[in-house]
Amino acid sequence: MNLLELQRRMAEDVTRPLTPDFQMQLKASDGRSTQELANSYIKPNDRLSSFDRLEIYNRQYWFRVIGAVSEDFPAVGAVLGAKKFDAMVLAYLRENPSTSFTLRNLGSKLPKWLEAHPELSPRRHKLLLDVARLEWAYVEAFDGADLPPLTAADFGDLGGASKLHLQPHLQLLDLRYPVDELVLAVHRQTAPSDIMSNAVTERKQPKRISLPAMRRSQIHLAVHRYDNSVYYRRIDQEAFRLLSALQGGALLGEALEIAFTGSALSPEDQAAKIQEYFAHAAELGWFCKLQES
């Protein structure tokens, strides 16, 4: 077995899902005995078989990745419960193995993936989706780039054909539930930690967290960073449309039109709203200059 063959063999074995009680499976997906697979390249010693030694790595892999996803999605974990959460991570990573050097990106596809998996929580699927989207938005806002904001002089030059850029850390969400309350409640009850170290991870049982009741009620959120803290700011639908259009690359004039299409507001009220939106956004530094590469 050359080096590449050995690494492929071991990677497959280490990332194979565990049994429900966190043991290494006895069979691979193609029916081969994992004991024979382990024997083929791992030496036993006087205390542990090849299987036992491989199992240490198999378990560590899952403890580490479940821990990392738990860290980024504590509220998803609180809504699902520990057992279902572990099963979700297992199913998610089976379809979306890590392709990044950093554990920070491990959950990047989880909100999208959850859309196709209502079976994980049939009664609370839409709530769960909103929670996952908000928690991932938090990750993006937490360490996204912060570019120099536009100055008052920059604003003076704006016209309908201007293109406005938004801070990379600013995340805009259209949600069906007021999950900002739920996520904040969970974050208040969980401690921050380092995302990475080189220590072996132990499986820790998450503590039970009390959740606020959720009733369906559409909200729009701007998840952003200010002075290195992440904030959830509720914005109205027109502001959401305006900012989303700008984020999507629309010119200022186009974005304003999108924002107020079908609006019952009078032109005067619309003008007042626009002034208000821009004042808030400018105050929070949401409009920025693009970084020259």
């Binding site: 080096l3 492929r8 280490v14 390249y41 010693n45 491989l54 890590s98 392709t99 050097f101 995302i195």
Partner: protein
């Protein structure tokens, strides 16, 4: 502290890992710490609090970068985005040297996020040394490779772990981050004398030493970094210092992290070995360790 080309001719003493639970204490109390080791990956981000904290730390303290995902032993090419971000961070921290592990962890673009052990083969020596050279050339700073704790050995191996380490660092012309806790953990898991390991390392290449705690299970030991340093590891550390001279030393404590003062006090126990009142009795140290190994 003696300087060598593998630690940027620096004179670092005893440091500790920079960890989130200690941020408030560090900024409020401004404790005297010789240097902090950071996990590079925690700061390879585009913005936010981590970088702000790092910049504040850099104003007052010396920082050395330690990585957990370069995977020098992975047979396929290094991730360019990773290297680019790492280089940006080294420019920020001005780390005099950079360390990562002598292990592999990714294959075919997929990451295990673990420090997987190498087969000790000549093929692996060649591939690993080439990758270390590539990274060292790109980053333009000295690289030190750290021996990992391991729980498995391969039929394919053609040499001992310490022979493999020596072959790699010679071929790559790089330094060593000698983790004496990892040596102890692996010695217990694989049944070798950890002194043989420490005595075989090319002393002139040791850039830094790691000490840490571990957890003992019925049939194996895990490198958990959640305890004080245990006596057998201090014995090994003493022997390592005898061989390589006083060397930049770092206590790793990554889980169940106690107060800053507790971690720092534990780390500072190393100073008694770095500046001994009289030379340590070599044979006695070895005898002590043999007793522990055969418990």
């Amino acid at each position: 502290m003696p300087a060598n080309r593998f630690n940027g001719f620096s004179d670092y003493g005893v440091g500790i890992g920079l960890r989130v639970p200690h941020y408030d204490h560090i900024f409020a109390e401004k404790p005297v710490v010789d240097w902090f080791e950071i996990i590079s990956e925690n700061y390879m981000v585009d913005g936010g609090r981590a970088l702000k904290v790092l910049d504040q730390i850099l104003e007052r303290y010396r920082v050395v970068q330690h990585g957990v995902s370069m995977y020098f032993g992975s047979v396929q090419p290094a991730d360019r985005e990773h290297l680019k971000r790492l280089k940006t961070l080294t420019r920020r921290t001005k780390t005099p040297w950079l360390s990562d592990h002598l292990c592999w962890g990714s294959v075919d673009g997929r990451y295990t996020h673990d420090l997987l052990p190498m087969p000790y083969t000549f093929e692996a020596v060649k591939a690993t040394a080439a990758r270390i050279r590539e990274v060292q050339d790109y980053l333009e700073i000295p690289i030190a490779v750290e021996n990992v704790s391991s729980y498995a050995e391969f039929h394919e191996s053609q040499m001992t772990e310490w022979e493999f380490l020596n072959e790699v660092v010679e071929a790559a012309d790089c330094g060593i981050l000698l983790d004496v806790n990892n040596i102890y953990v692996s010695s217990q898991n694989h049944g070798f004398n950890p002194f043989d390991y420490v005595n075989s390392v090319p002393a002139e290449r040791v850039a830094q030493i790691h000490i840490a705690g571990h957890s003992k299970f019925e049939k194996y030991i895990l490198d958990t970094h959640d305890h004080p340093v245990l006596d057998p590891v201090w014995h090994l550390y003493a022997r390592a210092i005898e061989r390589v001279g006083p060397t930049a030393t770092l206590l790793e404590w990554d889980d169940n992290i106690p107060s800053f003062d507790e971690v720092h006090s534990e780390a500072l126990k190393a100073t008694q070995y770095l500046t001994p009142a009289e030379p340590l009795p070599l044979n006695e140290t070895a005898a002590d360790l043999r007793e522990v190994v055969h418990q």
